[in-house]
Symmetry: D4
Subunit: 220 residues, 8 copies
Amino acid sequence: MQQDIKLDLERHWRLGFDEAILCAPKSVIHLTQILDQAVQGGLRLLLTRLSDRQLSELPPPHRARIDYEPISRTGYFGAPHDVVGPARVAVIAAGTSDVYVSREAARTLRYYGHANIEITDVGVAGLWRLLERIDEIRRMPVVIAVAGMDAALPTVLGGLVSSVVIGVPTSVGYGVASGGESALCAMLASCAPGLTVMNIDNGYGAACAALRILRAIGPS
Amino acid sequence: MQQDIKLDLERHWRLGFDEAILCAPKSVIHLTQILDQAVQGGLRLLLTRLSDRQLSELPPPHRARIDYEPISRTGYFGAPHDVVGPARVAVIAAGTSDVYVSREAARTLRYYGHANIEITDVGVAGLWRLLERIDEIRRMPVVIAVAGMDAALPTVLGGLVSSVVIGVPTSVGYGVASGGESALCAMLASCAPGLTVMNIDNGYGAACAALRILRAIGPS
Amino acid sequence: MQQDIKLDLERHWRLGFDEAILCAPKSVIHLTQILDQAVQGGLRLLLTRLSDRQLSELPPPHRARIDYEPISRTGYFGAPHDVVGPARVAVIAAGTSDVYVSREAARTLRYYGHANIEITDVGVAGLWRLLERIDEIRRMPVVIAVAGMDAALPTVLGGLVSSVVIGVPTSVGYGVASGGESALCAMLASCAPGLTVMNIDNGYGAACAALRILRAIGPS
Amino acid sequence: MQQDIKLDLERHWRLGFDEAILCAPKSVIHLTQILDQAVQGGLRLLLTRLSDRQLSELPPPHRARIDYEPISRTGYFGAPHDVVGPARVAVIAAGTSDVYVSREAARTLRYYGHANIEITDVGVAGLWRLLERIDEIRRMPVVIAVAGMDAALPTVLGGLVSSVVIGVPTSVGYGVASGGESALCAMLASCAPGLTVMNIDNGYGAACAALRILRAIGPS
Amino acid sequence: MQQDIKLDLERHWRLGFDEAILCAPKSVIHLTQILDQAVQGGLRLLLTRLSDRQLSELPPPHRARIDYEPISRTGYFGAPHDVVGPARVAVIAAGTSDVYVSREAARTLRYYGHANIEITDVGVAGLWRLLERIDEIRRMPVVIAVAGMDAALPTVLGGLVSSVVIGVPTSVGYGVASGGESALCAMLASCAPGLTVMNIDNGYGAACAALRILRAIGPS
Amino acid sequence: MQQDIKLDLERHWRLGFDEAILCAPKSVIHLTQILDQAVQGGLRLLLTRLSDRQLSELPPPHRARIDYEPISRTGYFGAPHDVVGPARVAVIAAGTSDVYVSREAARTLRYYGHANIEITDVGVAGLWRLLERIDEIRRMPVVIAVAGMDAALPTVLGGLVSSVVIGVPTSVGYGVASGGESALCAMLASCAPGLTVMNIDNGYGAACAALRILRAIGPS
Amino acid sequence: MQQDIKLDLERHWRLGFDEAILCAPKSVIHLTQILDQAVQGGLRLLLTRLSDRQLSELPPPHRARIDYEPISRTGYFGAPHDVVGPARVAVIAAGTSDVYVSREAARTLRYYGHANIEITDVGVAGLWRLLERIDEIRRMPVVIAVAGMDAALPTVLGGLVSSVVIGVPTSVGYGVASGGESALCAMLASCAPGLTVMNIDNGYGAACAALRILRAIGPS
Amino acid sequence: MQQDIKLDLERHWRLGFDEAILCAPKSVIHLTQILDQAVQGGLRLLLTRLSDRQLSELPPPHRARIDYEPISRTGYFGAPHDVVGPARVAVIAAGTSDVYVSREAARTLRYYGHANIEITDVGVAGLWRLLERIDEIRRMPVVIAVAGMDAALPTVLGGLVSSVVIGVPTSVGYGVASGGESALCAMLASCAPGLTVMNIDNGYGAACAALRILRAIGPS
């Protein structure tokens, strides 16, 4: 099965991103082949959606090289990039139940060498909690707002700050909220001008969007 | 075609509501038969979703008896009930585009003799507008919150006031907002505790729910 | 991970509700942190959607403080509020299969100190069973009607009683009924005037809506 | 374009139905060709969903042969079959707005020579109206129940009568009721045992199902 | 929890059906209470969607009284009704994968004392297999046609036989077929006149519809 | 606005197709610019979904160059390619109402110089009509099967012929059939092996697929 | 009706945007009130989705002040902001049929004083057209990519340039493409890292997102 | 249960395909009966979607005859057909995660004696990987393009090669990509002319379509 894997080694050169590996849909055989290639090529990799079970089934030498964070299910295979400069991104989760996504964004930013601040439990049904932190948030040029259910947080934020706001809906919830389509649609239909949106649960993608923006801004 | 109509004359006796006529799906022939029966029975009626075109095609004597409001497309056929007591319901529309629904609620309440206050253009993307009015809203035991698109208004309200909050999604908007399902789902999935929800564009229903609540509260 | 939790301690003061914890999407680590904070703050909590598995994995001292009811999967962490006055809410389930939701509503009401009556197995395909109980139901100012599948029960009730009726669709059923959207839409589209609706399976929310109404009514 | 039309002349012989023509999606050119063939073959035809506009654009000799009913938009092209025996089908519409479908069923039955009784405005939000007529309905071996919105009528009927009940959802309504999927799903998910269901607005199909059943029962 | 169960003892008297118990969504505690009540009342019951696991967890005396069939997951609690007369229903499954539904229909018919013939593997992608059996099928006044995926079988049957045809979609299949909505919609949209349709996987309901028809036909 | 148009002149060279213009979503200003460029470049064009209204609003010299067919709404702008060889494609429409799509396929094939046979009114609810023509169909290496509603025709064909079968769902129908998703899903879920499917109403695309296949087969 | 309008005059101060008026869902009475307030307040306004019909029904003095562009249906009420600096945004439409959205983005950018380049007819089914322009595109820090149907353009762009890419799906197309959900989902599910997405047809919103980014980048 | 199985022995004779067995929805009892019949009839069979668990539960003699490939979950029961001639089909997977489907297509082709080339990891977000292989792909008359998520690969291919392109969407992905409907719709809505589409994950069907085309082309 050697021929099933072809890492995209030009991506860094062309886009400025290392290749990241979405692990969930891949078999352990394929994951092992990928890590083998990375070791051979002297590459570091960001692993996303790596389950506990998958991690435990990897060959021990590979497993030992992975810095794993269980809530976000992310792993650093090799050392992450060095951090340069102060935090320029706020990663905000509406509730504790949304941290599995916001942490994925924070870990991705950190992997690429960008500091960031994480804020949790500021859902708009208790507006005072958000307003206490709003000045801190306003100072960041990029805000990642993670929310499920009614997903009102990014709309409220989009009306309070002039920064770039990237909304990430989560699949948390039951009934009509289950799966995250309600949250996704609420963000897309937001009346806050210029709110951008990612796929449901896509914390990794939100971080990549932030990286494109930070690159356009230039070094801090 | 005389046999197609059978007004529900017991409704007032059983539920405390006069019968209201949803006009949109009915032919002018049927509407005329209904108004004929009402005249014969000495009944007043609330007409909802009565289009300009339908109104203009009714027999002139019937048309002359109708007090028509064009934005809500409601008509009073006969005098409305007398107003008793002060306003106990706030009817709030997130934007000007939602007034066609909030006005239907306000007109229904007025028909049944209940004063109410109407507030418009307080969408949460401009939060300061809502906060200016919040004390006035808090004094009402029942709040009807009408919003389309992201429908974040009822969630924010539900976290700011302890009154009964009835959310009404509107079908205003384009893309994923079109038709109102996004707004509906955002309200149903709201993280504000105890928010109740009506069908899309159902201002009449929201007013009826308010009437059931006011009856439970008793005279003011 | 200490920073992931921030309980909303102002909620009771602002809305009259203690914070309730939706346990299903939370990790045991996060649940433990929440209960730790509650113990430190001298708070009682209502726990909803707490699975058997989650319960069994909590630290024994926390587990010992929880009064757990398995069908509704609710837990009281600390003593519930004292009951004051007679029952003013009827909680009605169309069938035995809907009790997991109606019990959640009943337990939430009881937690906040409100007596209530539970009625089961009165689906409208056997109308005589409902009619036997209708006078008892009519005496309650608030009726919570829980039903899945065709969800005809709240519509029939809404035509028989003048009380406030809160419909809660359940996800019970197969084929088009699976997940509860059919029941939800049938309730939203109900021809009974003034029926209010909650998200699928949201017994907790229905109880909160009842609490808002009871507060508006005032002490019995 | 002569070759675009091929009437199914064997259908009557095989299934006992004359061919019926669904007019809505057909051009007037095609409709004219069909009626030409029918005249040449000495056939009568049932025309369904024939709009006023289409009718007015047909060649006058064809138009003159059509017995047209505007609410159901049905036309008899040639004399209908003779009525034999008493009514054995009840065609019931929940509300006046549903008559466009129930009339189509009644007209189709009549075309094929079957008497029937039509009952309107017996929606279950006003249950007493239905109960007044229930004995009359029980005497019919086949009941066609037409309803939109919550579509609770067939479920209640299915629990009150032991006859064959054929549910037909209508597309009447707004919000989630719009288009008829809510009504369709409520009927399919009905807890009344043995309720059969037709496509939305398919009064013609319900009559054809009744015809198959009456044929199985045999002559009255 | 005694009060959660209330068997519908009048159903047999009113509709001619014994109560059937849909077991899947019920807890073993509730199932046991139901069987206890049946034993006390001297009732027999039809159990549907009773899983192997549920069966194995029932009290042994109850389990011993159940005649269980694993593919349909049906159980007879007590002896079924005696068979009277020859088969008047054909129960047809398009493929082997659909037998879990067609067997449920056949077992339900048998429970109520009606013989029937089962035919399998006659999907229309191999039309000759169906045509070999078509004369046998035509002799039955009622045909239950069970199919998933494209669900073309009931349409082809509806054009070949003049009997009553009851279509039952199944949830078998993957991609767009998964869950059975494709099959359901294909049946509802069928161009075969008078095809009636049941909810996805509802073999029990199809049998109940057949029972209503057979009752209308009268004894054979 | 000159810069809005850039015809793809390399397409013929790369893919063997001239550019075809989907007219429906284009303004008359843009259409005129396109035809101007074609005249200047000496190109012929295939115009699809050109409405009567659009045609009538084009500049008369352009209009005069268009060979228009109203049912398919196709136009040849310039002479079509010469026909070479006998018909190798059967274009089959289940009913008269589907001809607007099958004709588009036939006209596209003819534009590119391929003869074809058109067959109509062979829906499977009247199976004998299809079986009469099946030998003629089997002689064609490519079969385009156009059907709406239940869309059973391609499945039955796929089981009767070994040719390449291209299914095209149509949007004809009402209720669940409306818009064509039922037909699309029935084709995608077909149990006939190797049936390929096009987007709803995409007769043009089906012809292009046939052209790719005929090119692979080589000259006849 | 004076009280229905409340312009958000603080928006510019808080977010850096003037208020823009979404005209489509508003009545001409409301639009006139808004323009009256703007004149009184000395405000300029951006009008979006202003139909020809609405424009023609405005009072002539207001109409005379509007610089209207018909394809995007945008109007400048008062002079737009002065342009400062070179173009930093590329606005790209996959096809001519998508220009109604890309032009809205371009006009919004221009209103706020930002030059931009527009590129059209570079859909990926003719990849060579895009590759010819790719160097020009790469020089812009922000790229707005507008596409309907398969919406593959933003994915391909996201893999070719390291700029910020904002995808805007359009509702152009038929069958499954109709309404734009296919295009929306294809963009959200894109495998290009860091692609951000707007609601269907939301050219205005894409421009606002670009404005937030340009503000973060700072003056050129 | 012997009567539940009826293999379609005429299929090979009529369509040129042996019968293939879709194993996923079948019980092991039924699978065993099928393999018993195959042994008795001297047939070879292609088994698709045969899970590890099902394989392990088959009787050992049957299991020993199966050549199983775990990623595609396909099994050859008996020797496959001999390979004749060079590869004429390219089977292309956009990413490693799509190989479970592309391998099913490749294995099906091989079973029927057709060589083919497999290409992986050429998704269009890294366009250069595809362009490196494009000449090799162009030489094949039939191309099967397997992709999930945005599914842009078949569109790009359809614009680069003039071969027959068969798109197969996969269910890989999360959020809106989950289940494969996004990928399916993107392929159906493709602007590449003449792209044909299969059901989600239907690698087997794509191979059967290729077989029909290869048969039309004739021996190589």
